[in-house]
Symmetry: C2
Subunit: 343 residues, 2 copies
């Protein structure tokens, strides 16, 4: 009774969510700082009796604010129950049953899982040396996922390369800017360019806005593609509180920007400190580092840090197996990490 | 670039969500009473800083409480971002690309839409005279949706008939008990019977628990089927607040039961009042009535009530076009409705 591709599936493994509050949690790219105090205020003043009603199915207030931020129309904005929902919707809106999905390796490890769930062909493209951009030779995919800046590598793909690829690729290009607020550049204008009818750019409130618990991603792009997502979404995919609290956060950009400034400062410090200790550290444009310890034994170090109650992320495999992905924490968490490495 | 089935799709139309608070809203089967005061308390005391973290991806605390309520294991429980998410997941977990989905007509109008989104064949089965049960002659569907009590008819299908169908049907049977708390009987035991390996039973917090705004449905069934839903769900489909507030509501069953008692009392009153005015009223086992005005001109009455700021639901079509679906409101809303009908 269960579909063959589902039976064969190896599900995506999210990073661990330990219960012990003493753990220094640098494993899932969460923001170490609290969301806007206006979010807390909106929660306190929310009348719980309103929850008896259904939310706005097309979340118009949210779309108006997002359209205002990015200078587009509400028809160019879709909001999802986390970016993951939007990625999954794309595999169903833009990929026929005999289609395929392209993505880089290494990149977000959910992409092959989503491809398998959709039951279509994977078309992975290996990145160049040092995790650099490589234009896919194969143009046959129906949908191509690009995380930019990339995860877990933390590197930004050159915008000219991404732009050139969007213009030649025949399917839909989804540029996931989950870490975009931590980067020096953005591809958002590609999603709004009149002659880029195939390009979507996605953002999330999980990282820069400190709202991973809320589940809130949004995507900007041509209204024809965005309209297809509305057609196939669940009727009320965004709950009432996510709509109200997300809007509140999007109305307080300075709070997010100040947290981003602090995280970028800590990122610069940790990069320097690790390099002084002989690590190879990618030039991060995100809220995490992708870094190789001097002996390349990342697996051992991952376990050693865990025993000291410091959680980071380790991805086994030929490209990533000598690196750790370390979320940027507070200054004091960074002190503790460095002390553990030096101990 | 957009899939053919998506291009051809007519999206589901949710009931109107008017902004005007003076409107008497009897059109989307919401509960007229507030959720448990413990939900309001949980909201007030929630620390917004926690939202910076991801939620538990497998919502274990929720599953433990739901398993306790229904006397099953956590492996037999799945929770979705609204029941609609669970229905959509079923079309992807249990229906191959060349499969089909069965459902009754009239029933929940989302079923044919979900079938079209999945791009598979619709197998509608017309109900018998007076919207009564009719065992599907055709056993070829991969998945069969049964709303019980049914919507929009408000009638309960006889449990022996449902049970016999589950035992002979070769695919998965999903029994949607969205209105189950308002009914005299339940099929929940069919989902837990060891020899019913194909039967799922779903509940929602939207109606009886007054939490439509939260998006919270859950399904009980054999662990093999439930496990397939976990494999294909979005990584963090249930946000942190939905998990906390949903658990709080499920820990206060007496509040829900008292609201259900009041709604059933008003349901009995409105049924009597309408019948005294010559209406044909189905014997409702839900929080709404499906009722035919004496002249059968439901379309005209729908519009007339709307001008008096009373919203009900009207489904055009040969089976349903002479009926209105009227959500049970408060006693004073019921007074206003009757006054409008008598005016």
């Amino acid at each position: 009774m269960i579909c063959k591709n589902v039976q064969a599936l190896t599900a995506y493994t999210p990073g661990e969510q330990p219960k012990d509050a003493r753990i220094i949690k640098l494993n899932t790219n969460e923001n170490p700082y609290a969301p806007s105090p206006k979010v807390a205020e909106a929660l306190r003043t929310f009348d719980a009796a309103r929850l008896r009603l259904y939310p706005d199915p097309v979340f118009m207030a949210l779309r108006q604010r997002i359209a205002e931020i990015h200078g587009c129309t509400v028809e160019q904005v879709f909001v999802g129950n986390g970016s993951d929902e939007i990625l999954a919707l794309c595999t169903r809106a833009f990929v026929e049953n005999d289609g395929s999905v392209g993505y880089f390796e290494p990149s977000y490890s959910l992409y092959p899982v989503l491809t398998d769930i959709r039951g279509v062909t994977r078309r992975p493209v290996a990145l160049g040396p040092g995790f650099t951009w490589r234009t896919p030779a194969d143009d046959a995919a129906s949908l191509f996922f690009i995380t930019n800046p990339n995860a877990p590598t933390s590197l930004m793909h050159d915008k000219a390369s991404v732009s050139a690829f969007c213009r030649t690729f025949r399917g839909v290009v989804m540029i996931d800017e989950a870490y975009g607020d931590f980067a020096d550049d953005t591809c958002m204008d590609l999603a709004l360019a009149a002659d880029n009818a195939n390009t979507l750019v996605m953002r999330t409130l999980s990282k820069s806005f400190s709202l991973a618990g809320l589940r809130f991603g949004y995507v900007i792009g041509p209204s024809a593609l965005i309209g297809a997502l509305y057609k196939i979404k669940d009727s009320y995919n965004m709950d009432m509180l996510a709509q109200i609290l997300g809007l509140t956060a999007l109305n307080d950009l300075p709070h997010m920007q100040e947290n981003v400034r602090r995280i970028r400062a800590t990122r610069a410090r940790l990069t320097t400190e690790l390099r002084q200790r002989g690590w190879t550290v990618c030039d991060s444009q995100t809220n995490f580092l992708f870094a190789r310890p001097p002996d390349g034994d990342a697996a051992r170090l991952f376990e050693a840090l865990k025993t000291e109650k410091i959680y980071v992320r380790y991805f086994p495999g030929p490209e990533t197996g000598e690196y750790l992905r370390i979320t940027i924490g507070t200054e004091s968490q960074t002190d503790a990490l460095l002390a553990a490495l030096d101990g």
